[in-house]
Amino acid sequence: MSEHGLQAVVEPTGEDELSGYLDLLAAIGQDFAMSLDVDETLRISLTRIMDYLDAAAASIFLLENNDTEIVCRVSVGASDITGLRLKYGQGIVGQSIAEQASLMVRDVRSDPRFNRSVDEKTGFTTRSILCAPVSVNDLYLGAVEVINKRGGDGLFEESDRQALRALAASAAMAIRNATLTRSLIEQERVQRELELVAELQQSLLPKPQPAPFPVHGINMPARTVSGDFYDYFALPDGRIYFDLGDVAGKGVQAALLMAKASSLVRCLGKTVHDPGTLLGMVNREICETAARGMFVTMVVGLYDPATGRVRLSNAGHEPPLHLMPDGHFDNFAAEAPPVGVSADLFPEGKFPETEFELGDGSLYIFTDGMTEGRVTGVGQLGIDGVKSYLTDFADLPIEERLEVLANKFIEPGVPLHDDLTILVLEKRD
């Protein structure tokens, strides 16, 4: 719809006409108030306008295709031209829209702007045309056109032109309101569906486990749905699998891949007790089936409480940090690219692993929502900021610690910069 600067103005010429307009305006207003079906309501209103002006036919043209075309949306009376498509500015109706002017052509035969091809197709004979732009302030929607006055000398009068301008303004308001209402309903529907996706995502995250279970996690989506995930589950022999991932991209596409990646780890992890081999299998599956350019950075680990040893495989993810009781940090940089980039990477498809002693330290795995997250008064936290927070809050109980850390990134009224997910592994009594 165009934006220019005209407004349809009611210019009644006499008392009788005024009361006529007002009755008709009131009737049209009620038509629109009662219905969300714009086409049907336009048809009813257009019939009222046609009858009021004693015309043989009437139609409403609306701008389409970035205002390059005008299309007859509704047509009533002797000549049905619904669906007729004209170029912007074409014909008398096109000129009425382009110039935002109400036009009256008393005898079209002598007017070069008149487009005869329509009459040739319909078999209808157009004699006179009255057009008025349909617009609300700066929002240009189209035009209403009435054809051939039936009574008298068959020609429209100046008072008809002014009446049509007023009626067109009322139609414009109604079309705009109905369009706004429809888009609001659509937005609400999309939002409801996103909330269902978010609910499903939350159900994929593991439930918190009480001590002595050694893993705890937190996830805060930046929008309704998230591309981050974490999971943990115990094997029958007591070892514990844990994983955390971040899908490149946002929105529903990322949410779907997140669901797939996390389900693959959980399902394969029950039989494949080897993080590197497991990541290799997930990689091949995702390379085979995910859309090109979609990838997941992820870390998968297997912790054995009996020995205190951790086996870790990192596919393109931010290095996990191992904080020792003396305040020293070890980090485990990625030794493989993210999952989903290339299927044929390592011999036998096994991703590299590292093994270390957890000791009395804490292993933190987190997404870039933490390193790139913004904290009030600090700005982007960066890896040094993350380390400093982890040191500061090391003495808090595990659940409270993750809450406090995550809350550092929350500023009332400001959406999160990115999804934020943190997972911690440590011995608990």
């Binding site: 490149a248 090109r292 350019g293 990838f295 393109g316 690219p337 980039v341």
Partner: protein, 108 residues
């Protein structure tokens, strides 16, 4: 982000300048995929890339994967230090062919 496409040493060179991020990566993706779909051997000149985020990396990966299926060459040349850090963090420098210069890519 700005870009230009040129021919050098028999290779198509797509040079990007500025940030390849969530807002600009769709444009980078369009440029790269169009060249790859024309089965041209493509090198991305990243000497003037100030910043690249995961959506920018995703555009490179998608072009790399598409080039694999069409059988044409794809690689990065003269990657700026900030962009290289991002690629190294994700260990992607081991997957995406990276060359010091267009001449080095042509000789490879």
């Amino acid at each position: 982000m700005e870009h230009e496409v040129r021919e050098e040493h028999g290779l198509s060179i797509a040079a990007f300048r500025g940030d390849i991020d969530f807002n600009t990566s769709p444009e980078a993706r369009r440029v790269l995929l169009e060249l790859v779909e024309n089965r041209q051997d493509l090198m991305v000149d990243m000497s003037s890339v100030d910043y690249i985020d995961s959506s920018g990396v995703a555009s490179l990966i998608e072009a790399f994967q598409s080039a694999k299926t069409t059988g044409s060459r794809f690689g990065l040349v003269a990657v700026s230090p900030p962009a290289l850090r991002v690629l190294q963090l994700a260990h992607l420098e081991k997957v995406l062919p990276i060359y010091d210069s267009v001449a080095a890519a042509a000789d490879a």
